[in-house]
């Protein structure tokens, strides 16, 4: 009996100790350093899995040392990040301080629900932001993308455009030049398609909603678009041609399983040498030319998106931005982080690492672009000149609209564009038009 009482006492003491241990943190009294006004604060930052975030992670320790702010970093895949942000912000949680998000996907939704802090208050305050930080250094189109009804909901980080990545060695062996029109691209895919040896002619996203952003370049180059005057217009004859083309090349010359592929799977297929071409966002240039991440690193070439019947019209859009929730309790410390991450120095560093940032000064810096994969800066400029500034329908219910368009893409791929897609397109087009109507 006595042992039992001792055991019980021991358990209670252990339990109490764990409670105390979990509760208290370091409560060091730091002298107020005027250069580090927010020292000792902790901010919670949510990143997405993206080359920019990968490049920033090792540099955060510098930020912590400089400012004395502790950064609790969490990283998620883009879909999970969206889910998490929405759940936490919808329930009024105050624990997020900085988050990465996609302005084209979420800016309208967040602005509608008033979840973002208007960053203008920080940018225009000379005490919080030195004039040298220069908000006007950001590309004008990127500033437009993150400003909703005059409210600056976030600071733009990276812009991306459709790029055609191709295997220089396979093209040389077949005596081909990189394609300049979509017709040439289809012909090249046919020649290079080698299923017996496990090499597909071309790979691209086919996974329902995820494919829409990369499909947009094909859509625009055939002369189609997503929305016009508040109505969905992807039931136009031009759009039909785009769907048929996309479905045809992926069914006939794509790898098996393409309808389950988003960029995470497509990049693996391309980097392990199992595809001769890949159309996707420019951000991935760093990864496919990195010897530690890609088996074909030194064989990768890149050109502007080929021209369709209506010209070459890739998208060039702000892919990610950094924002502060309205409910955050550490807005000043959070702003320090956003200011640092989007400063001229940081952007130059990221550009040198192959991340396509949004500041003009970074692109004008010869040193930074020198470290860029050769020829990529020219591709960037050429693409920028003809590009469309959005890669998806701009609305609040973007997720649902993407799934509707994605349904057509999947069917096009499954049938190789041979089946009559018109009834399905009309159905999905109506769904998106109805969604747009509900937003009024």
């Amino acid at each position: 009996m006595k042992t039992r009482r001792w055991v019980a006492l021991l358990l209670i003491v252990m339990f109490a100790l764990t409670l105390v241990g979990c509760g208290s943190g370091d409560k060091k009294e730091q002298a107020k350093d005027p250069k580090k006004p927010y020292a000792g604060q902790t901010i919670r930052v949510l990143f997405a899995n993206h080359p920019w975030a990968e490049g920033m992670k090792p540099l955060i320790a510098e930020f912590e040392k400089e400012t004395g702010i502790t950064v609790k970093l969490e990283s998620y895949s883009e879909k999970n990040l969206s889910d998490k942000l929405t759940v936490e912000l919808a329930t009024g949680a105050t624990t997020i301080d900085v988050f990465m998000s996609r302005p084209l996907q979420e800016a309208k939704l967040f602005a509608k629900n008033k979840w973002s802090t208007d960053l203008k208050t920080f940018i225009n305050d000379p005490n919080k932001t030195p004039a040298a930080w220069d908000y006007n250094d950001f590309k004008k189109s990127t500033i437009d993308a993150v400003t909703v009804d005059g409210v600056v909901v976030a600071s733009p980080i990276v812009s991306e455009w459709t790029t055609l990545f191709y295997r220089k060695d396979l093209f040389e062996k077949a005596g081909l030049k990189p394609p300049t029109t979509l017709e040439e691209m289809e012909a090249a895919a046919k020649i290079l398609n080698d299923p017996a040896n496990g090499v597909a002619g071309i790979v691209a996203r086919g996974n329902r909603g995820a494919a829409v952003t990369q499909f947009s370049a094909y859509l625009y180059s055939f002369g189609g678009d997503f929305i016009k005057d508040g109505k969905a217009i992807f039931d136009s004859p031009e759009a039909l041609e785009a769907f048929k083309y996309y479905g045809r090349i992926l069914k006939n010359y794509g790898p098996p399983g393409v309808t389950n592929m988003s960029w995470e799977q497509a990049i693996v297929v391309f980097s392990s040498g199992k595809a001769a071409m890949w159309t996707d966002a420019s951000t991935f240039v760093g990864q496919v030319t990195d010897k530690t991440k890609s088996q074909v690193a030194d064989q990768v070439g890149y050109v502007t998106f080929p021209a369709g019947p209506k010209g070459a019209r890739p998208y060039d859009a702000v892919a990610w931005c950094l924002g502060i929730p309205a409910q955050s309790k550490n807005k000043d410390a959070a702003w320090e982080f956003v200011k640092w991450a989007n400063s001229k120095e940081m952007m130059k560093k990221m550009l040198a690492a192959g991340v396509t940032v949004t500041r003009n000064s970074a692109w004008a810096d010869k040193e930074a672009t020198a470290k860029f994969p050769p020829g990529f800066a020219e591709v960037a400029q050429k693409s920028g000149a003809v590009a469309v500034p959005y890669d998806r329908p701009i609305m609040t219910a973007v997720g649902e609209a993407r799934d509707a368009i994605g349904t057509v893409i999947v069917r096009a791929i499954e049938t190789g564009g041979a089946e009559d897609l018109t009834p399905l397109i009309k159905e999905q087009n109506k769904i998106v038009t109805d969604l747009l109507a509900q937003e009024k």
Partner: protein, 290 residues
Amino acid sequence: MKEYIENNVRWLFPLPAALFIVAMMVFPVLYTFWVSLTDWSLASGGEAHFVGLKNFEVLFGEPRFYNALKLTVYFTVLAVAVETVLGVGIALLLNREFRGKDTLKTILLLPMVATPVAIGLAWTLFYEPTVGLANYTMKLLGLPASKWLADQATVIPSLALVDIWEWTPMIALIVMAGLASLPSEPFEAARVDGATPLQIFRHVTLPLLAPTILVAVVLRSIDAFKTFDIIYTMTGGGPGFGSETMNIYAYTLGFQYFRFGAASSALVALLALVLGSSLVVLYFRRRWEV
């Protein structure tokens, strides 16, 4: 005070557990019922207004709902049927004495204790059509390569295979416990009467095991209807909507389209499906009670 506690001990001891259940289970279910009667959606600004049964009207007119329903039933019936047959078989095998029985038992139970998300990710790699182990094995066996998760025709069977791999041990476990508790007289009597092993199985083992098997089937079906982890990690409902079961559909409605009212109504429908099926099975059990 002390007297009160002593007299009512039988109410006080379960009280913490009861409070926990009310907070964690009853409240969320009731809240879901409530939300399913509103039009709460983030895309429309976040205000919730009571709309009665409108969400259900919309839901029952939506072809995607019927697709989800069909896929849920297909997946559950396929997975649970195969699991039951295999599980009972394994349990019977493990009921004999042989060397290495305990080790075999432990190994067979491992899939059940693995983390579902890890299982999903690993099997996704196996199922990858170009570089995965599954097609490699098919090639070795001289069978044609399959598209596994990438084709709408094969995605549900592929997912069911993963579920079978993960949960057959659970059925085996329950049936093993049932076998161990069976009386030995009927078996001895049958053997004395000269019954063959097959006859013993058909006329003695199976009827005696029937209640246990039924319990295992009901338990497993309830979970199989609600399967989320492996489907979400492996296909996210794709390709197209080829593996979008009710649970995934509700998740998409709620967390990707932010239509919480619609999502809640889909979940209430799922609850009705699961509850209804369980009640039907249990009703038939009473009818066949030996």
